[in-house]
Amino acid sequence: MFRSHILVCGGTGCTSGNSMKVYDALVERIKKEGLENEVHVTKTGCFGLCALGPIMIIYPEGAFYSQVKVEDVDEIIDEHIIKGRIVTRLLYKETVGEDGNIKALNDTDFYKKQHRVALRNCGVINPEKIEEYIAYDGYEALGKALTEMTPQDVIDVISKSGLRGRGGAGFPTGRKWQFAKNSPGNKKYVCCNADEGDPGAFMDRSILEGDPHAVIEAMAIAAYAIGADQGYIYVRAEYPIAVQRLSIAIKQAREYGLLGKNIFGTGFNFDLDLRLGAGAFVCGEETALMTSIEGHRGEPRPRPPFPAVKGLFGKPTILNNVETYANVPQIILKGADWFASMGTEKSRGTKVFALGGKIHNTGLVEIPMGTTMREIIYDIGGGCPNGKKFKAAQTGGPSGGCIPASLIDTPIDYDNLIAIGSMMGSGGLIVMDEDNCMVDIAKFFLEFTVDESCGKCTACRIGTKRLYEMLCKVTDGTATMEDLDKMEELCYYIKENSLCGLGQTAPNPVLSTLHYFRDEYEAHVRDKRCPAGVCKKLLRYQIVADKCKGCTLCARNCPAGAITGTVKQPHVIDPEKCIKCGVCMEKCRFGAIIKA
């Protein structure tokens, strides 16, 4: 028995902040003190509060230390582990109650409203040890499915639970499985989409890094339900930690007989392999992903035939997203009614969001469907930093839209988000404040889709390019009001005529910003002004005569020679010569230069 457990976050966010060096230092020091049999140090998956990384928790006290550096390790060992005195200086201040005692993590604002289903083991178990997963009811659902349920029973439970695809489109998972089960054929495949390509979304990665066995177990259950014996996890090569932990997990599952032949002595065979993506956003689309697993250029193909009929290598195939799978074992164990009791009528269960952008608590949150945007951004996320005003939240990445501050009380579920012009997407939630220009954001996403369009269909290949050029005209101040109408028309054309989901949703960022922030577009077009002060071509740097001391520093640093004036007299910027590099503003010691 260990008297103390130290859990160090080994997710990508914390390891980027050197948490593994902290881990090594802890292990080394504990060894030096001869405490290996008393204190146990574990690498876990992501805790979720990435903004405070590197993070560690020490039990039994439940001390939550944030932003821990290697230099802090000695103090933690000396004070906390040896003398039993908590290092208050490193505690996450939200976990310290008014009485000075430590509050349970689940009572802090960040965690209080969360409900962890898909993320339940992340930050709790060591993802590299199958024994820890098994200790938390791991592989019990697979055992139950194989020994007590027929394949149809499994599908019925999943259908009744109301689970919908967490990859973004929200297709009912049970129905998808039923189609594949009904398809004739003696060879079928189960695939997992772990090609998380949305910029700013990292929930799937955290699940793979923190709880890889949950995905493996769920895929085995799915295989049993539809009658498949082979599975593939298609994972981004850019996620090295996830790839490594999945490889370890698959190897362990094989050693335990949980993958392979005759699982649980029932005669059911299932094995699983990894396929590494090579960096193509379109491969998140199901038919493109399968083409890519087959080794080709990842171009989508028309549906029907749907993958459930003719998928990977021409055989019936189901493809689900990582988070969808992570919910499955618990639905089998706890029942459809338990899952359906969470969320809203048409969107059951919980959803994981990756909170990022202009928000205090960057990180991963899992909330019941139906939670409002306000609760996520203010109660959990802590609002925008530096007292800035919240302007919009972007969901669904390049396929989604911006939700304005006026709709912040919308309960989040699949259907509500579509109704307000965005979509659930895989769960990226980027918060923007008054300093972000909405036209610039729309342009950013379009640049992404132009880059990632596979080029197979004209509407997407050329349409997104032309749309991007029109947005550039707006941010350059050369667009006309007529261009805005043309943009909108082109958006609908691309949506209606594209082959796959990438093109069909690519115009969403433009349409939603045009809809909710038309005044900003008009300011760019009509007044040649960027209200947020982002679009460089529309900026005017000016010197405030009252504040300028005539120190000449700006004039000496201006690379374009655009600033003139005599010593100790207010200077002026020649807008014709100014290249808007901002050097003058950086150099000025008196705050006399402003962007107008």
């Binding site: 902040g17 700013g200 392999d273 090579a278 960096g279 087959e294 080709h296 980027i430």
Partner: protein
């Protein structure tokens, strides 16, 4: 587009052996199906990039045309037909980094090294790529140099970071 640099292909016999061995292993692992992407990944691990002679070797091994190999190699962002710098710089242009100003950091790197994204400096020291989200959004904006991660980078810090890697 990547800047074309005329570096003569100087693959060794030993690298070729390694590639052949890796491809043979892959064939067993994959059961003969869908080998192309994994083969290119192995080849890029061994050679650092995928010049024509390497693509030809893969085409011969897999029994497909060079055009097919080229088609796949140019489709995916991970593959490079040109050598990368000794220090590979990545600036994350994922949304979370972008809204926190990584675009300015990226531009600063371009200006400082006088290269564009996808290019390499003439001395083969630095190459620059705009990366997609690398997943540490809490550190935004993020810049990487090989395996080193720099968080909350400002354009003013770029010069200092690069200086660490110059001789």
């Amino acid at each position: 587009m990547a800047k074309k640099i005329d570096v003569p292909f100087n693959g060794t016999k030993e690298q070729e052996e390694r590639l052949k061995k890796a491809l043979a292993e892959l064939r067993v692992e994959h059961g003969g199906q869908g080998l192309m992407i994994a083969s290119l990944q192995k080849a890029q691990d061994i050679y650092g990039y995928l010049p024509e002679p390497v693509q030809q070797m893969i085409a011969d091994e897999l029994g497909v045309s060079l055009a097919e190999v080229y088609g796949v190699a140019t489709f995916y962002a991970q593959f490079s037909l040109y050598p990368k710098g000794q220090y590979k710089i990545g600036v994350c242009l994922g949304t979370a980094c972008y809204v926190k100003g990584s675009g300015d950091v990226y531009k600063k790197v371009c200006d400082t090294l006088k290269i564009e994204g996808g290019q390499c400096t003439d001395d083969l020291k630095f190459s620059l790529d705009a990366t997609r989200c690398i997943g540490c959004c809490g550190l935004a904006p993020v810049m990487t140099v090989n395996d080193d991660v720099y968080g909350k980078v400002t354009p003013e810090e770029v010069e200092g970071i690069l200086a660490k890697y110059r001789d």
